[in-house]
């Protein structure tokens, strides 16, 4: 018989050969406490200040945030205020997007706490000040897919990610919703936070509902989380969007939506198993309503709907018209609840959604996308970031990602917004290259990119009012006259990155 004692020399020899130690027995006696008591704080639950100290954050480092609470976000302002109080300087704030609610950043920029920003969009007073030259260093703008890529490739390294979550257990398993009775907030998908959780050196979860382990199914895994901080509120869910389906009553939007639906139905891509994404604009949402009837009439089902998922999409999924929903961002509460309850409603990270260098990202499998625009030019280039007054007022979002990867990209925009023309000679800022845009739908006619004669032929055959894009520009000019040139200065306040990591355009400061 061979015993442990007899094998002692052999064990030592095997260890020596492998360059390992021989097992010496457990160091500590087993803790007899019930595990719920033992792991009450998982060693991770702490205060925001302590968490910041423990991450080792230093001046000049990069901190990141997600924008799933949109206008209701409370995490960015809370964390940056704390960092300012603790005396941090020269931080690079890398958010998936910023909006009106982040106006307090203006003071933190003036005080040198934040000296660099990377984001998908900027709105409100912060955008206005930055457009006028508030920052020394230009803001870096990336698409959602481009940001995911930049994080994954190390192009944009994140030192510490501060990620809001509607539920989290003491180990760090976190979700954009909560299954507990103490749920305070819901944002649904945490898609834009997932690359940060995966690639940041340190990850701090802020939650307003600390739940018992295990918080499964989880969106962010404990293995990526270093600290958990409990706060009163991570966000006001009511400001993501109202819960109900909003149907546009604007007759022009309805006309545009009907025209866009006709383009889709006659495009050659409207067949069993097609896939679709819509932007959040009134006309593109309404377009879905009009293709819905054709789907029922012709017994056509979609294999998946992608993107910012809305109550509209959830309804069609529940009716059996769309098999699966792929959700990087829930645009309203109905979508967020559906993500929580329906296994066919899948959460994806920004990389799996729209990264150019992930062969399996969902946009690569997308047939058609309906998008809005601030401006389209005669070369089909699109601007969704900078207003016609030269002031930053929007977000790149997934616009260039979906336009580039889809088989059919449709831009829906009115010819004029008030006195502002939407079809122009040259866009104020280049966001989505014209080579990726296939169709532009306006109330004065539909223009097809000359690179798509196949598409043009099908749409002409269907009797749609196809016009040259230059004639739309001319029509706009004949109504509004010639706008004066904008008073741009010489300072670069923004740099627009293409999704492949190259620099595509710059935004100059505006004077006056």
């Amino acid at each position: 018989m061979s015993t442990l004692v007899e094998r002692k020399d052999l064990i030592a020899a095997a260890a020596a050969q492998m360059g390992k130690q021989v097992y010496k027995g457990a160091e500590d006696a087993k803790n007899p406490l019930p595990r719920k008591e033992l792991h009450q704080d998982g060693g991770k639950v702490t205060t925001l200040e302590d968490a910041i100290k423990q991450t080792g954050l230093k001046d000049g480092m990069t901190i990141s945030f997600h924008h799933h609470f949109r206008g209701g976000d409370k995490v960015v302002n809370m964390v940056v205020a704390k960092l300012a109080e603790m005396g941090f300087k020269n931080l690079h704030l890398a958010a998936s997007s910023l909006s009106d609610v982040h106006e307090p950043l203006i003071e933190h920029i003036k005080n040198g706490v934040v000296t660099k920003i990377s984001t998908s969009g900027l709105r409100g007073k912060l955008a206005n000040e930055i457009s006028h030259g508030l920052m020394e260093e230009p803001v870096t703008f990336r698409s959602h897919g481009g940001r995911g890529s930049a994080i994954a490739t190390g192009d944009m390294h994140i030192d510490v990610a501060f990620l809001g979550a509607s539920s989290c257990d003491p180990m760090g398993n976190a979700c954009g919703y909560s299954r507990s009775e103490n749920a305070k907030s819901i944002c649904g998908s945490l898609g834009y936070a997932l690359p940060d959780a995966q690639y940041a050196d340190k990850v701090v979860i802020l939650t307003d509902d600390l739940v018992a382990y295990p918080n499964t199914p989880n969106s962010i895994s404990e293995r990526n989380v270093d600290h958990v901080v409990v706060v009163d509120s991570v966000g006001d869910s009511s400001k993501i969007s109202s819960g109900a389906i909003r149907d546009t009553k604007n007759p022009r939007d309805i006309l545009l939506a009907k025209q866009a639906a006709k383009v889709i139905i006659n495009s050659g891509y409207f067949k069993e198993g097609f896939s679709i994404q819509t932007g959040s604009g009134g006309a593109s949402l309404a377009a879905v309503k009009y293709i819905r009837q054709s789907m029922i009439d012709q017994s056509i089902k979609a294999s998946f709907a992608l993107g910012g998922i809305t109550a509209h999409m959830v309804k069609m999924h529940e009716e059996g018209l769309i098999e699966r929903l792929i959700d990087v961002q829930s645009f309203d509460k109905v979508a967020a609840e559906s993500l929580k309850c329906d296994p066919m409603h899948k959460e994806v990270s920004a990389n799996e959604y729209a990264s150019a260098d992930e062969p399996g990202s969902a946009t690569h499998c997308l047939d058609m996308v309906i998008l809005s625009a601030l401006e389209v030019d005669v070369n089909f280039n699109v601007n969704v970031l900078v207003g016609s007054d030269g002031i930053i007022r929007g977000a790149i979002g997934g616009h260039p990602d979906t336009a580039a990867d889809s088989a059919l990209s449709i831009i829906v925009c009115p010819l004029l917004r008030g006195r502002i023309p939407c079809v122009v000679d040259e866009v104020t800022t280049l966001i989505t290259p014209g080579s990726t845009v296939d169709v532009v739908v306006t109330e004065y006619g539909i223009a097809v990119n000359p690179s798509r004669p196949d598409l043009k032929e099908r749409l002409v055959k269907a009797g749609l009012p196809i016009v040259e894009i230059a004639s739309l520009r001319d029509k706009a000019q004949s109504i509004i006259g010639h706008p004066a040139a904008l008073p741009f200065g010489d300072k670069v306040v923004g740099v627009v990155m293409n999704r492949d990591g190259s620099v595509m355009d710059v935004i100059k400061n505006i004077k006056g």
């Binding site: 008030g418 006195r419 509004i480 006259g481 004066a484 904008l486």
Partner: protein, 92 residues
Amino acid sequence: MEIKNAVAGTLESGDIQVMIAPSESKGLHIDLESSVAFQFGEQIKKVITETLTGLGIEDAQVKASDKGALDCTIRARVTAAAVRATGKDVWK
């Protein structure tokens, strides 16, 4: 021409609100606020001036709040305000 305070138009998108008041000094004094001031500010002032002088109003304070109105809308609102300010119907 004697004028009193008058107003025409709304603050809705695509409209312009025009307020006309007597002026103590000579000439037209136009105070314009516009959502498209950068691109169309001068053009809007030109249309207001042309419309008023065309109606024989040379001296007045004009306060205009523009929300992207087209020239035809601007002319209509300025004319309506002028008619109310002078009591002189120009459409008969």
